[in-house]
Amino acid sequence: MTRAAIAGVAESDLGAVAEGTTPVDLMAQASLRALADAGIDAAEVDGLFAASTQLPMATLNLGEYLRIAPRYSDATQVGGSSFVAHLQHAQAAITAGLCEVALIAYGSTQRLVGRAGASVQEVDPYEKPYAPMLPVSAYALAASRHMHEFGTTREQLAEVAVAARAWAALNPKAFKRDPLSVADVLEAPLVSDPLGVRDCCLVTDGGGAAVVTSLGRARAGRSAPVALLGAGEAHSHRHISSMPDLTVTAAVDSGRRAFTAAGLGPADVDVLELYDAFTITPLLFLEDLGFCAKGEGGTFVEGGRIAPGGEVALNTNGGGLSYCHPGMYGLLLIVEAVRQLRGEGGERQVPGAEVALVHGNGGVLSSQCTALLGTEATLS
C-alpha cells in the first residue's frame, strides 16, 4: 500500500451562508481553499471523491464546477461517515495507480433550504406507520437502551454537550460559543426522550475539503503533510430496527481495523475527533474504539474530562454539537484533526499532538469509519 497523506484541508464558509448559495458553491469553495493550502493546482487533481444528500451525483457536480475531468471518481455514500471512508478509498486508488491527486469534498445548504428539503429520508414500509423522527429518534432509542443497561444518566450525556461548547468557545469559527451548563442542557425542551434539543447537533450550512496524495508528493507541497496511518470501515444495518445491539456499534470493527493497520492502540492517540450528531454518540464510540470498557462511557466523560484542560482532548473544534453540523459532518472531523497535527489549533491547540483519531458515523449508527492520522514524526 502506498503511504497516503493529507496535503491540504479547508472549510468553506460555515454557519448560515448567503441567500442563493448552492451546495456545489460550498463544495468548490472548500476545494479551492484546500488546494491552495496544499499548494497543488486544480489541474493536477485526477481523482474526485464526494457525497451529498442534496447532490446524488456529487462528484459529477464537483468536476463540472471546478472544470476537472478526473480519471477516477468515487461517490460512496455512507452518510456522515462517507468522507472518512473516502480517505481509505483514496489511498487504495492511489496505490492502484488509478489516480495521483485525490480531492475529497462536501457542501451543504441545509440551514438555508431547510433540513427536510436537504436530507430526504427514504420511506421504509415497516417503520413509516410509526412516524419515527429521523434521525433523532433512532439515537434516542439507543440512548434509552444505554441508560437501561448501564445506568447512564442524562447528566452524563449533558457533559458531552457542555464540553463541546467549551471547546467551541476557543474556536472563532464555531457557530455557538456562549456558555452552556449541564443544567441548561437538562432544562432544554425534550425532542425525543431522553434527548433534548441541546443533546442534538446544530443545523448549519457548510462544507469542507481535503487533498490526498502520496506522502512523497505531499512533502513537496505548501503545508506539512499529515500521514494516513491506518483506516477501517464497517456497517451493520440501515434501519435502527435492524441494528443487532443498540449499545454496540460497528465502530468495534472499524476501530480494530484502523488500529491494526496503523500498528497503534488507544493509548497512542493524542486527540480524538468523534462524530457527535447527538450526545450519545461519543459515549458509544469511546467504548467501541477501546478508550473505556462497554458501559463506562458515561463515567468516562464526567467531571469535565473531555473539556478543554481535561485528560482527553475530544472534539477540539466544538464538534457537530457547537461548531458546525452541515447535514453530514465527517469531512470537518478530518479538517480539525489535520489542523491539530500541524499545530494550527490556536487557542484550542492540543500541545504536542502527534496522532489523531477521526471517527465518522453515518445513517442511524449504521456506518462506522475510523482513521488514524499522524505527523511525519510518527512514521520514523
Binding site: 414500509p125 415497516y126 417503520e127 406507520p129 410509526y130 412516524a131 419515527p132 423522527m133 429518534s137 434516542a140 432509542l141 439507543a142 434509552s144 437502551r145 437501561h148 425542551p189 425534550l190 425532542v191 425525543s192 426522550d193 431522553p194 434527548l195 434501519h239 435502527i240 430496527s241 435492524s242 443498540l246
Partner: protein, 110 residues
C-alpha cells in the same frame, strides 16, 4: 414472484396475523420479510418485550411513543405501545399485539 414480501406481510396482517420469516440455515428468525431461498414464512404469537423506547415530541402534536419490540420468536420490529401514556412505556415491559386497525401496534400484556 407472485407477491412481494411486503404485500404478503400486509395481506397476512389484514387476516390478523403478524408474519415473520425463519431461516433454517442459521436457525434464526428474520424480520422484515424479504426475498431469499429457503426462508420460511411463520406467524408470531404476538407476545414480546419492549427493547428500547422514546417519546417523540413534535411541535403542535401530542407526545407519541416509538418503541422497538423483541417478539418471543426472536425477531425485533419497530412499533408503538398504545393504551398507556407514552412516558409510561418502559424497557422490559411485556407487551402483546393489538389485533385492531390498519397499523400494527402493541399494548401492555396485563
Amino acid at each position: 414472484m407472485d407477491a412481494s414480501p411486503g404485500a404478503r406481510f400486509a395481506t397476512l396482517w389484514r387476516e390478523g396475523k403478524l408474519a415473520y420469516q425463519w431461516d433454517p440455515a442459521t436457525a434464526s428468525a428474520v424480520f422484515y420479510p424479504r426475498v431469499g431461498a429457503g426462508l420460511e414464512w411463520r406467524v408470531s404469537e404476538g407476545a414480546g418485550t419492549v427493547y428500547a423506547t422514546t417519546v417523540m415530541r413534535r411541535r403542535g402534536e401530542a407526545p407519541a411513543n416509538l418503541a422497538l419490540i423483541d417478539l418471543d420468536e426472536g425477531f425485533r420490529m419497530m412499533s408503538r405501545v398504545e393504551g398507556i401514556a407514552p412516558e409510561a412505556v418502559a424497557i422490559g415491559m411485556r407487551v402483546r399485539v393489538r389485533y385492531a386497525g390498519e397499523v400494527l401496534t402493541f399494548e401492555p400484556a396485563t
